[in-house]
């Protein structure tokens, strides 16, 4: 008798929920999973009801992909809170497989190295199998980017989702593509420094500061003195 495959669980841990950049990345992966005819379910755990349901249903699944933005160099506190609920409820998680997707505004994937090390440790600590981490930098602003700017990323994620659906693992070559740039080359750092000095790097923030009428307050230090 063929063992029935359980749905792959995609967890969006972004506090922004439906309006998150994480959602865009998850949906690209999900597109690939659908092409591979791999069933998946999604939980947006910024909602209490989703946390309660996932905690309750956790043992009915065996493969999980935890996706979230990097906050202050680690997982958001809200994701950590859910993991504590999980480890308080289920002592050991043998037979479960964890994948992760970490996205951030900083461009270089290397900024998530500590977090990736922790995710490996955490997975081993709970007794689950570590399937790998997709890291993507430069994601802040993706929602206002024209399609040509993000098409390659979304195509790669879709392909990654397809392979995940078919083979049950992350394709290392695609993960390395998605993670580029791992570090910034010297010429790019020089260019960014120059662009920062003339204000080009900060256009994304300046636009929003102006929209809210607080551009001239942008250097406020409300906690001084």
């Amino acid at each position: 008798m063929v063992k029935e495959q359980k749905p792959l669980v995609l967890i969006n841990g972004s506090p922004r929920g439906n309006s998150s950049n994480t959602r865009i990345l998850i949906e690209a992966l999900q597109k690939g999973l659908r092409q591979a005819q791999r069933e998946s379910v999604t939980y947006y755990i910024q909602k209490r009801s989703a946390r309660t349901e996932l905690l309750d249903q956790f043992n009915n699944y065996d493969t999980f992909l935890w996706a979230f933005p990097m906050y202050t160099d680690a997982m958001p506190g809200t994701v950590k809170a859910f993991w504590e609920d999980l480890t308080d409820t289920y002592e050991k998680m043998e037979g479960k497989k964890f994948f992760f997707l970490v996205q951030m505004g900083f461009p270089e994937a290397s900024q998530a190295n500590m977090l990736v090390s922790y995710l490996k440790w955490f997975t081993r600590h709970v007794g689950a199998f570590y399937g790998g981490t997709i890291v993507r930098g430069g994601v802040e602003g993706i929602q206002i980017q024209p399609m040509w700017m993000k098409k390659k990323l979304l195509d790669n994620l879709e392909q990654l989702g397809y392979i995940l659906g078919v083979q049950g693992q992350l394709d290392e070559t695609l993960c390395a593509q998605i993670a580029k740039p791992y570090k910034l080359k010297k010429w790019l750092r020089v260019l960014l420094t120059f662009m920062s000095r003339i204000g080009l790097v900060n256009m994304y923030w300046n636009k929003q500061l102006k929209e809210h009428g607080v551009f001239d307050q942008r250097f406020s230090t409300p906690y001084s003195g």
Binding site: T72, D73, W83, W121, Q208, V214, Y223
Partner: protein, 190 residues
């Protein structure tokens, strides 16, 4: 010496934590320092929602006005931000991480290159150094290395330095508390 101490009064995973914390607090009170104590679990606050309102709507201030607001002011005024907490699953408890997530109003959204990486610009001239006293004893060296690595990342954001990371045992049995007041070394950020 002004210390802003964010701490947890109890651990849901160690019955010994509270008693040992009491001893750690006694050791801290013996220092020649002015310490502001904030029990993280008693602070009523909304976790960061990633709205970036503190950067683009009310520059430098979180859009949520709650118990964390005076803590942020105290952090900026302090010489040391000290965190005293247990370790859950190899990292700070969620409540402490939620406090750190809410510290982004202290930074500026603008980006610049620091130590060959992209980081946010400082909003303030002065930031405190970071010190951690954690109930690490049940965990291995790998966890200590991970938490040390995380703390070293955090201090880059503040262009500050990690003053020390001590376990409860090092404070209580090895007089490690004196490290807290050692003269700081200067770190140059390029």
């Amino acid at each position: 010496m002004q210390i802003c101490c964010l701490y947890m009064d109890a651990s849901k995973r160690s019955s010994h934590y509270h008693d040992r914390l009491y001893q750690v607090k006694e050791a801290l009170q013996s220092l020649n320092a002015n310490i502001s104590w904030y029990n993280a679990e008693q602070l009523q606050f909304t976790p960061c929602t990633g709205c970036f309102g503190c950067w683009v709507k009310t520059p430098g201030r979180c859009v949520f006005h709650d118990d964390l607001e005076p803590v942020l002011g105290n952090i900026i005024a302090a010489d040391i931000l000290l965190v005293v907490a247990p370790v859950y699953d190899g990292f700070f408890p969620a409540i402490i991480k939620k406090c750190f997530d809410r510290m982004i109003p202290l930074l500026h959204p603008y980006l610049e290159i620091v130590n060959k990486e992209v980081h946010h610009r400082k909003r303030y001239q002065h930031y405190p150094e970071l010190a951690l006293i954690i109930d690490l004893d049940d965990f291995d060296e790998e966890v200590r290395t991970l938490m040390n690595h995380w703390a070293e990342r955090i201090v880059i954001n503040m262009r500050s330095r990690l003053r020390t990371l001590l376990s409860f045992s090092e404070v209580l049995e090895q007089d490690g508390i004196s490290q807290l007041l050692e003269n700081p070394k200067t770190i140059q950020y390029g």
